[in-house]
Symmetry: C2
Subunit: 149 residues, 2 copies
């Protein structure tokens, strides 16, 4: 039995659960939009990272999207099979793999604007509200990253 005086942590009072469930909801909004392009949300993040600058190592991508090589290696192989990126071992340092966009991967940027506005619409946020919330989350993420070694 549960009373108002006990200390049961309520799901709906948890910031962590709000973040977690909102992240899943966001993925569900993106999924059908990205499916038309044949990519998943994490793949789309990698594309965004590469549109900004490509010809970068797996680790460099990892530091941009906060994922490690154990996640990225298979993901990048799938993107390579799909013809979106190229993976070439660096001649200067044979440990590194340099990832670059194919023309198909680069062309997808043209569709990105439409997707972004669809999602902004689904959020029902103004651009200002979205930016303000983003800034708070980035600050929180920075604090959390500090406490992870």
């Amino acid at each position: 039995m549960n009373t108002k005086t006990d200390k049961t942590p309520l799901l709906d009072e948890q910031l962590c659960f709000a973040i977690y469930s909102t992240s899943l909801a966001m993925s569900k909004v993106y999924r059908p939009l990205l499916a038309k392009l044949g990519v998943t949300y994490p793949q789309y993040l990698v594309l965004m990272a590469l549109w900004n600058q490509d010809q970068v190592t797996v680790s460099e991508i990892g530091s941009r999207v906060f994922l490690d090589s154990a996640t990225l290696t298979p993901l990048l192989k799938r993107m390579e099979s799909a013809g979106l990126v190229e993976r070439v071992r660096s001649a200067r340092d044979e440990r590194q793999v340099i990832v670059s966009l194919t023309p198909a991967g680069r062309d997808m940027q043209k569709e990105a604007g439409k997707i972004m506005s669809s999602v902004l619409c689904a959020t029902q946020c103004s651009k200002e509200e979205a930016i303000a919330l983003k800034d708070q989350l980035v600050a929180l993420r920075n604090n959390l990253e500090k406490s992870i070694q």
Copy 2:
């Protein structure tokens, strides 16, 4: 090449990426704390849902944590193997499975308070800031859920 006049969507400007990466960072903070109890973060969410009220169906848990039976069935089986919950098919309606806490699952609530305060500390947020951010995310999640059918 990237200039200030092009329309490259920048990762660091995206609300969705801020949510996604903060959610992963939050999981990384929780992981070692929950590992001591032998549970994962989604399992911890299910425990929280059940501490509030147990003897509920898989769907009821799903509606509380925003996950479907395809995710929950295997997760609950793992929790059952770990001795945290019991799964019994309902006699009244044989389609349903009623999930309840074992004493071990219920006892874990005692540790939850410590974990919550560790995580709040890692966020570097005051309780008021955490609540305010949570409320904004819940509002966003509600908007996103509306646009998912």
